[in-house]
Symmetry: C2
Amino acid sequence: MTSTSPLRVALAGLGTVGAGVIKLLDVNGELIARRAGRPIEIVAVSARDRAKDRGVDIARFDWVDDTAALAHRADADVVVELIGGSDGPALTLARATLAGGKGLVTANKAMMAHHGLELAEAAEAANAALKFEAAVAGGVPVIKGLREGAAANEIGRVYGILNGTCNFILTKMEAEGRDFADVLAEAQALGFAEADPSFDIDGVDASHKLSILASLAFGTRPAFDDVATGGIRHVLAADIAEAATLGYRIRLVGIAEAGPKGLFQRVHPHLVPLSHPLAHVSGALNAVVAEGNFVGRLLFQGAGAGDGPTASAVVADLIDIARDEFGPPYAMPAAQLTVLPPADSGERRGRAYLRFMVADRVGVLAEIAAAMRDAGVSIESLMQRGASADGSVLVAIVTHEGPERAVAQALEKLRGSQSLAGEPLWMHILG
Amino acid sequence: MTSTSPLRVALAGLGTVGAGVIKLLDVNGELIARRAGRPIEIVAVSARDRAKDRGVDIARFDWVDDTAALAHRADADVVVELIGGSDGPALTLARATLAGGKGLVTANKAMMAHHGLELAEAAEAANAALKFEAAVAGGVPVIKGLREGAAANEIGRVYGILNGTCNFILTKMEAEGRDFADVLAEAQALGFAEADPSFDIDGVDASHKLSILASLAFGTRPAFDDVATGGIRHVLAADIAEAATLGYRIRLVGIAEAGPKGLFQRVHPHLVPLSHPLAHVSGALNAVVAEGNFVGRLLFQGAGAGDGPTASAVVADLIDIARDEFGPPYAMPAAQLTVLPPADSGERRGRAYLRFMVADRVGVLAEIAAAMRDAGVSIESLMQRGASADGSVLVAIVTHEGPERAVAQALEKLRGSQSLAGEPLWMHILG
């Protein structure tokens, strides 16, 4: 029998999401109590700076200086961890919370990617909840979608647009024909990108999320270290334009597949055909596709970040706990999660987009074409665009379907060539 | 403490979905047992014709001639109802199952639309599960998405593409420039549309689903009788072409809104702007959008019908029951569901597409324009296309935003006019 007394929450971290959770419970509290069967009440909060104005009244909650002490409060049933960071105070609090038998709700993708298995084991040992809907795709209930909605399926592939900052930048580059650095600077000025944007634009954040999704989808142990991670730093406005002429849009796609050859996980900019729903995911939205052996292709889409959406996911987890509806964090007991070896990307087959900036002189195209031929890469189309201000010429190639190893060999062969101005860009075409 | 003994299922109805459930449990049974914490086993089945070849072995299950008797089997924990029909044997079985304290899983949208409240009350009285994920949008976990994923939000609007047959027909008309009757005949030949297609193409099926979604989204009692229901029978290839020139696609959209003026529910063909994700939902797919006050716009998309996807949703419900994770069917106790009066559509403001087939003679445009002016309808654009084989001319108008009452008045004024060949078509523009 589920309790009807309030679910008492200790909240660690009062950034925009923490303030969002307080605001959400203020505004929707009565409705939530009806849906959850009992009220959800914050009893204590902790953050670095007590005096900071967060736009919400925190004077009514117990203030705790020592965040780790939240784990031991007798008047709290659940701790919400919104501190962030894979280790440090967040991990200390998470461990202590679960060890003490309290439930933990976290939005911390880095912590879950690095320590999810350990935390799941601790939660199961204590019969406590560990929930992390907000760690992936913000407000979009994709953890629930995989863990429960698609639970009847063997899932072969899960992929999606997992970083709103990158998608914002790419769609703005696309809409306005501007280059990466220019749009990034604007995004930073607007607060859509961090002062140090590397975590987002180099794909690390998306890789954290992908490793969590893969674990849930395939019943495998989280394997963040095996994600091949790339970002969008080297995508040019010219690449976006070339892709558009071919019927594609460029998106940073995280993709995970489980199969007889192991577990494949990659975050990389992809050319997405206009016929695919991910091509129509614009701005800071996130979207996740899961392919199940009975349900076919499921798509979940919505706001991937922001205080309101993220708070929505945090409180959805709290409602599940209030309803006493939580099981093993990864849907099945952590001890049953399997270990798959990382799959060799070289054996993957697909189509590739290759872009070279080359010197404008005789023989360059022949050199590139010869490298492709020698590696057995079959060219579907090749475009050369006239010289830019610095005299370099853009050559964009789309290959026929073939093994990635061949493309890697062709690029290796061209490495250090005097004909090339800078590194070639290799993007995959979403099939 | 949840049991680890098998969840025992009695299955009523062995059409394609029933056979799909058996097949799914055969193929994914081991995986499901790990995720659910215990096996899910069919113990008995019932259908009209025992001898029919369904492509699955049913000899291993107890055969029961009297479907209603499944409710009373001591060896079953849950009954899965896949008979269909709002009343008759399905309802008899559902009532008896819940009265006896067993869980019920159903894919029956008509029964839930008409009798959902009564069944929810019975389930709550018996502390039994009543789950119906498969009743809306096939394999897409949208019931779960609203009931749990978006549970922290006040939802203002829920809408979507809820009938795969209509979407299949509309997108085929769009792709091939063909007219409705022609494509319907092909869809029937291919088995995508019923011999009597009225339930689908006149919007009744989508209205059933919309009323279920509205109840979950708004915490209101199901109010199927208040859904304003329209279908796609009168949409011409020419309408689709006109919409395309304006940047829209035509979709049958079910839309529900709750507000101070009451509960608005309508199923009707809409012009959907290309910038909206529903414009990119093609073929037999379904998609549902929910707008929450914190999460913003959530989109769920996938296969809306078919044996595999629907079986996926049925078994997802069974997994929830096996995990002992079910609460009140409508998220909150049925006694707390509110009753909202139906909202007056006349007070709604929006933009409209109006298409007239008119006689090719002097003064017709003036007559239409005068009717619009007199009713206070402001015209944003007007297109007239040359005479067709029968001499009639197509006039398509897009209005500025304004009250629907004014459009209704203008059309009323034109009723019976000798200038019009047939009924005008009024479609709403999704805003």
